[in-house]
Symmetry: C2
Subunit: 168 residues, 2 copies
C-alpha cells in the first residue's frame, strides 16, 4: 500500500504538474509574458515562489521514498531557472521513483524515519508517510497549481487530479 | 490502512484547519476586518471562495468515508456564513468520522465506488481513495490555507501539518 500511495500516485501527480507547466508555457506565449515571471510568483511575500514549490514537491517525493526504504536519494542542485528546467527536474524525480518496486517497501511501515532537523527524534515509516510525506507532497503540488491559477493560467481540477481509471 | 490514511489523518487535518480559522479570527480582530471578507476571498475569480473550500474539504472526507464503506453520509446544507459556522461544520464532520472504525473498511479496497456524475462508471475503493479522495481532500485544505496565507493570516507549515508523534 505505501508503495502505491507514494511512488505510483506521486508519479502521476508529478506528471500532472508537468502538464500544468505546459499550460503555463502556452499561457506565457499567448500573453507575451516571460515564464520566469510565473516561476517567481508567490501567494504571500514570505511563502515560497513557484519554482521552489516545484523543487520541494520533487524533494518530498524523492527523499520520502528514500527514507521509507532506507536508501540514499540523489542530490539535486536547485539551480533551475526556466520552465524547461522545472520540467526536467520533475522528469529526473519521476525516473528516480521508477527505480522503486513494491518489494523495496517491505518493513517500511515499521522503519524508523528521521531527518537531520528532528534532532535524533523519529517517526515510524507509517506515521511519516501518512502524517508528513503525503500531506507535504500535496501541499506543494496544490500550491504550485494555485500560483499558476491565481496568475490566470487556464487550469481546472482535472489538470491537478489527472485521468481516473474508470471502469464500466 | 485505508481507515488510518483517511479517517484518522483527515480528522487531524480538519482539526488543524479549524485552528487555522482561530488564527484567522484573531487576525480579523487585530486588523478590524470582518471575517466574512476572508470567507469570501479566493485565489482566482473562477475558483471557490474560502467558505466553499472548507465545505468541499468537509464533504470530500464525509462522502469519501461513506462511499468507501457502503454507508450513507448525512446531508449538510452549505448555509454557513460566519467563522463560527465554518468551525461548527468542521466539528460535525469530525464527529461523523469518529463513528467509523477500522472494521468498517473491511473490503473497502475492492468495493465499487461511483458518484452520480460518473454516469455509471466506477473505481475500486483503493483507486478512489488513492487517486481521488486523498488528493482532493488535500487540495481543498491546502487551498483554504493558501487563501488565509495570501490574505496575511500568520500561518506556517506547522499549522497545516499539526503535531508529529515524535519518539526519542
Amino acid at each position: 500500500m505505501l508503495h502505491d500511495i507514494t511512488i505510483t500516485q506521486f508519479t502521476k501527480m508529478l506528471q500532472n504538474l508537468s502538464q500544468c507547466l505546459d499550460k503555463a508555457a502556452a499561457y506565457c506565449g499567448a500573453k507575451k509574458v516571460e515564464p520566469e515571471v510565473l516561476l517567481s510568483a508567490r501567494l504571500a511575500p514570505d511563502q515560497f515562489q513557484l519554482m521552489r514549490q516545484i523543487q520541494v514537491a520533487c524533494d518530498t517525493a524523492k527523499t520520502g521514498a528514500a527514507r521509507l526504504t532506507g536508501k540514499e536519494a540523489p542530490a539535486h542542485q536547485d539551480d533551475e531557472v526556466t520552465l524547461a528546467d522545472a520540467k526536467a527536474r520533475i522528469e529526473k524525480v519521476i525516473a528516480y521513483l521508477q527505480t522503486y518496486s513494491a518489494k523495496d517497501f517491505a518493513g517500511a511501515d515499521e522503519r524508523r524515519v528521521s531527518q537531520p532537523r528532528w534532532a535524533g527524534k523519529y517517526l515510524t515509516g507509517h506515521e511519516f508517510a501518512v502524517q508528513h510525506m503525503i500531506p507535504n507532497f500535496y501541499f506543494h503540488v496544490t500550491t504550485a497549481y494555485a500560483i499558476l491559477r491565481a496568475n490566470g493560467v487556464d487550469l481546472g481540477k482535472k489538470d491537478y487530479l489527472g485521468a481516473m481509471p474508470f471502469k464500466e
